[in-house]
């Protein structure tokens, strides 16, 4: 006989919907889900990165998908896979840690990239020739140090940078600059202005370091080219994302390395401009069934049941039908599946098993949350999209908002359907009845 309370506690500890899985630390929770994402193919992504011929022109790739569909987990898994002697030397930049994502500027992210690269090279004791660091150091001396008006801040920087020179010196400089920006210090705008006004010098100096570092890393059998994987930039608000990826793209692309930037889904549904500047890779939702079909994919259901049971012991369910109901209501959205499980456990409180009514309560709770993001005039749009064929994907501002808010979900080969919990809402059902009658 299982102790329900203990099992519930164990399950609760594994239901984090605010953290991505770490490919090393969270192996027990990992489930290989790529086969469940329709025609998603990792091979396509690798092809886009020209993994078979790394002497290609630099790649700037956007990796997008719904919030919570497993982007970060997949990206980190991919980063680990690509960080190989015969592939890339991956530099993972977590924008959420390194910069202020609520107020992001291209110069912030590029300074953060320099900081993380320098730190990584230093930690691994990579022998970088001083001549290739000197230009970056000169840029700092000529453009930053002498231009900062605030003496107090000058002293702060000097105090933070005690090392003599070389990688540790530059590493500390960039850590200090990035820290001033991410902590929202009063000098943030001044630093940004200075970087922006001397950007071509910074880019030239950073590029010189990258080219040399790639040669040294390749010689040390640590990777043929540098690949920056920038996570967290998918959290940018729509207007900020547009500015960052559209307007500032030419500054981002002045850095001559390979990049994968995580991107919000709304940006990928915009006009074609973004696709002219970047290679785009979209991580589809897990597809549990075809559009408007009740014929659920057995393989996907099995994988998602495995996903549930790696977190919540099956003994906590009255029977497997509750698990399957939760999967169906999640729409294949992993974070919502975890959220529904969490709501179920909060409802049973370890005192009883998850039964049909528990599932209904959890679904209602989630649906109520979604209702806040839906305007009355959105319901006809949602009903129409659900009724129409897969090819009906009206890329309007309203639809982009609904996609961003997860009210509308996008699946492989890019068809749309409203979130299953949204379809339980009274307003939706009234609209559907009106249309059907």
């Amino acid at each position: 006989m299982h102790d329900l309370m203990q099992l519930t506690d164990e399950a609760e500890s594994k239901l984090h919907f605010d953290q991505a899985l770490d490919p090393d630390a969270d192996q027990l929770l990992m489930v290989e889900l790529n086969d469940c994402r329709g025609d998603f193919s990792e091979a396509k992504l690798l092809w886009k990165l020209r993994i078979n011929n790394l002497n290609h022109a630099k790649k700037y790739l956007l990796f997008g998908g719904h919030v919570g569909c497993g982007k970060t987990t997949e990206l980190r898994r991919l980063a680990k896979k690509l960080h190989q002697p015969d592939k890339y030397y991956v530099v993972l930049v977590d924008a959420l840690l390194e910069v202020d994502i609520n107020d992001l500027n291209y110069s912030d992210i590029l300074l953060a990239q320099a900081k993380v690269l320098l730190k990584k090279l230093e930690d691994q004791q990579i022998a970088i020739q001083p001549i290739f660091l000197e230009k970056l150091s000169n840029w700092f001396n000529e453009c930053i140090k002498t231009r900062i008006s605030n003496n107090e801040f000058k002293s702060e920087i000097k105090a933070g940078v005690t090392a003599e020179g070389g990688l540790p010196f530059l590493g500390k400089i960039f850590a200090s600059l990035t820290n001033s920006i991410s902590s929202g210090s009063t000098h943030k705008e001044e630093i940004r202005q200075i970087v922006q006004n001397s950007f071509s010098e910074f880019a030239a100096a950073f590029n010189q370091l990258i080219v040399h570092a790639e040669e040294v890393l390749a010689a040390a059998n640590l990777g043929k080219k540098i690949l920056f994987v920038v996570d967290g930039t998918d959290r940018l608000r729509s207007d900020q994302a547009k500015k960052f990826f559209n307007e500032d793209v030419h500054q981002l692309k002045q850095i001559e390395a390979n990049f994968i930037y995580c991107t919000p889904i709304t940006l990928l549904t915009e006009d074609g401009k973004i696709r002219q500047e970047f290679d785009v890779f979209q991580l589809p939702m897990i597809k549990i069934a075809e559009k408007a079909s009740n014929d659920f994919d057995a393989m996907v259901m099995a994988k998602l049941n495995e996903f549930i049971n790696k977190r919540v012991n099956s003994a906590l369910f009255e029977d497997i039908s509750q698990q399957e109901q939760l999967i169906k209501y999640s729409g294949g959205h992993l974070r919502d599946l975890i959220r529904l499980l969490s709501y179920c456990l909060a409802e049973t409180r370890g005192e009883k098993k998850i039964d049909r009514s528990t599932v209904e309560i959890a679904v209602k709770q989630l649906a109520t949350e979604y209702r806040r993001n839906i305007k009355q005039e959105d319901y006809p749009i949602l009903v129409e999209i659900d009724r129409q064929a897969k090819s009906y994907v009206p890329a309007t501002e309203a639809c982009r908002r609904l996609l961003y808010d997860l009210v509308l979900l996008e699946y492989n080969s890019y068809w749309w359907q409203s979130h299953p919990v949204v379809r339980t809402l009274e307003a939706y059902q009234q609209e559907a009845a009106k249309v059907n009658s």
Partner: protein
């Protein structure tokens, strides 16, 4: 009456024609005089004062121009109509021109003993012919006193791709030394080493060591070829072409850009570099005086930047279109563009280009005779911003413009002070040999105006230093300096 000798060797024939019209002809004589540079024009006018009773009539915002001309005609032999710079621009009124045209007969009657010299930019002359065909039909002559672009002894800020120059000569030399010492220890050059050779070429170029710069760029090219990096190869080739361009070897530069650099970037579909190369090509056309082709290439570059959504580069390129218009004398249109892009740079927070655009607006004001306003902008708006940014090159160039205005106002000592105490030391500090030699030339010319005999040896010494540098750099300015030395009957003693 003895004819006044031509102030320079370029316009001797037209200068003589003008004097013949003044002395040998009679009756109504309207002369169209094309010019491109205020200082040169004012110098010609000043020379004419030696033999003729003359005065200036300002046409700027002057609806009573025909009446003014008629009123002055009886008192002077020669009337110079100036202040026409904004004629035929979108916002300007053509009323005074129409009046001149309608009142041709009465104007001619009033000016039987007086020669009218109407000073216009070259591009304005055909506009005048179109707008005032009756008066145009009564012209006595159209004379050309315009100055070829390369002979205007001011730094071509409008043609520079505004690379900031913040490091002083000591830093540059130190960096060069470090690069040299690293490269000497290399047995086989890596791709990154090739990039160091390119950087070395850039530093040498700024230092005016163009032959050495060329060698370094060629080495970078070889290394890029060896590593089969087409993009780097084209960038090195572009640097080689740029050095040829700086040396005045425009044909060779154009050939490299058009036959090697541009096709390679096109094959790589590198739109950014294609656009940059088009701008370089436009520079060459502009230097050759072919502003139509320069404009066409610049507009092509603009279309590319716009298609890419590269707002900053597109705005900079719009500024270049305005630069070309400015050079063609289309001041109103140029001013309009500068004002538009100024607000874009403000929105972008791009202080450097904001300040540069302010400088360009002031240049136009200066050309239209608004000297005080132009000086205010140079001194109180642009210069403090550029100083704060630490861009010494642009600071020197702005101060140089202030000196030109002081010179135009006749404040020669003040202008001289600026050149000697501010501009020259900055170029020297930056190691900018080209800037130094131009500055030396300008100082010599000012000293000549102040007191040629008193400063005889200093003028000679400055011109010889400038000549030596120009000859070492193999640039077109060498000829201009030689001509000046000949005119002043001076020689350089070779050591």
């Amino acid at each position: 009456m003895t004819a006044i000798p031509a102030p320079d060797g370029n316009h001797a024939a037209d200068w003589q024609r003008l004097q013949d019209i003044l002395t040998l002809n009679s009756g109504f004589r309207l002369v169209f005089a094309a010019y491109s540079n205020h200082i040169a024009r004012d110098k010609l006018i000043a020379e004419l004062a030696k033999n003729y009773r003359q005065t200036l009539v300002n046409a700027k915002n002057n609806p009573a121009l025909p009446a003014d001309l008629k009123a002055q005609a009886g008192q002077f032999e020669l009337l110079h109509i100036i202040g026409t710079e904004l004629w035929f621009t979108p916002d300007s009124s053509l009323q005074s021109i129409y009046h001149l045209n309608y009142q041709r007969e009465s104007l001619a009657a009033a000016c039987q003993q007086t020669v009218l010299v109407l000073w216009l930019y070259d591009s304005q002359i055909s506009e005048f012919a179109h707008e005032a065909p009756d008066l145009w039909a009564w012209r006595k002559a159209v004379l050309d006193f315009s100055t070829p672009l390369e002979q205007i002894a001011t730094l071509p800020i409008h043609l520079a791709w505004l690379d900031a120059d913040k490091a002083d000569i000591k830093d540059k030399q130190q960096r060069l030394e470090n690069i040299n010492s690293y490269l000497q220890g290399r047995e086989v050059y890596s791709f990154a080493d090739g990039q160091l050779w390119l950087e070395k070429s850039h530093i040498l170029q700024v230092l005016g060591l163009w032959d050495e710069s060329l060698v370094a760029a060629a080495q970078s090219l070889e290394i890029s070829k060896k590593h089969q990096n087409k993009r780097a190869e084209s960038i090195a080739n572009s640097q080689i072409a740029y050095i040829f361009q700086m040396q005045g070897n425009l044909e060779q530069a154009l050939t490299i850009y058009q036959q090697q650099v541009l096709p390679e970037f096109e094959a790589l579909a590198d739109k950014q570099q294609i656009a940059v190369t088009l701008l370089r090509i436009a520079d060459i056309f502009q230097l050759r005086g072919d502003s139509a082709q320069a404009l066409q290439k610049t507009q092509q570059a603009l279309s590319l930047f716009e298609a890419m959504g590269d707002k900053l580069s597109a705005t900079l390129t719009q500024g270049r279109i305005a630069d070309i218009m400015h050079k063609r004398g289309e001041l109103g249109q140029a001013l309009q563009i500068y004002q538009q892009i100024l607000s874009v740079f403000a929105d972008l927070g791009n202080k450097s280009n904001y300040a540069v655009t302010k400088v360009k607006i002031a240049d136009i004001l200066s050309d239209t005779g608004e000297l005080e306003q132009a000086l205010q902008i140079y001194q109180h708006e642009a210069l403090p911003a550029l100083e704060a940014l630490g861009d010494k090159y642009l600071c020197a160039s702005t101060i140089e413009r202030m000196a030109v205005i002081l010179q135009m106002r006749g404040e020669l000592t003040e202008a001289l002070n600026l050149y000697q105490q501010k501009v020259l030391p900055i170029y020297a500090e930056l190691g900018n040999k080209h800037g130094v030699l131009i500055c030396q030339y300008n100082i010599a010319m000012l000293l000549e105006k102040v007191d040629r005999h008193l400063h005889q040896s200093e003028i000679n010494s400055l011109l010889c230093q400038a000549l030596q540098a120009a000859q070492a750099m193999r640039i077109a300015e060498a000829e201009m300096i030689m001509n000046t030395l000949t005119r002043l009957d001076m020689q350089c003693i070779s050591k």
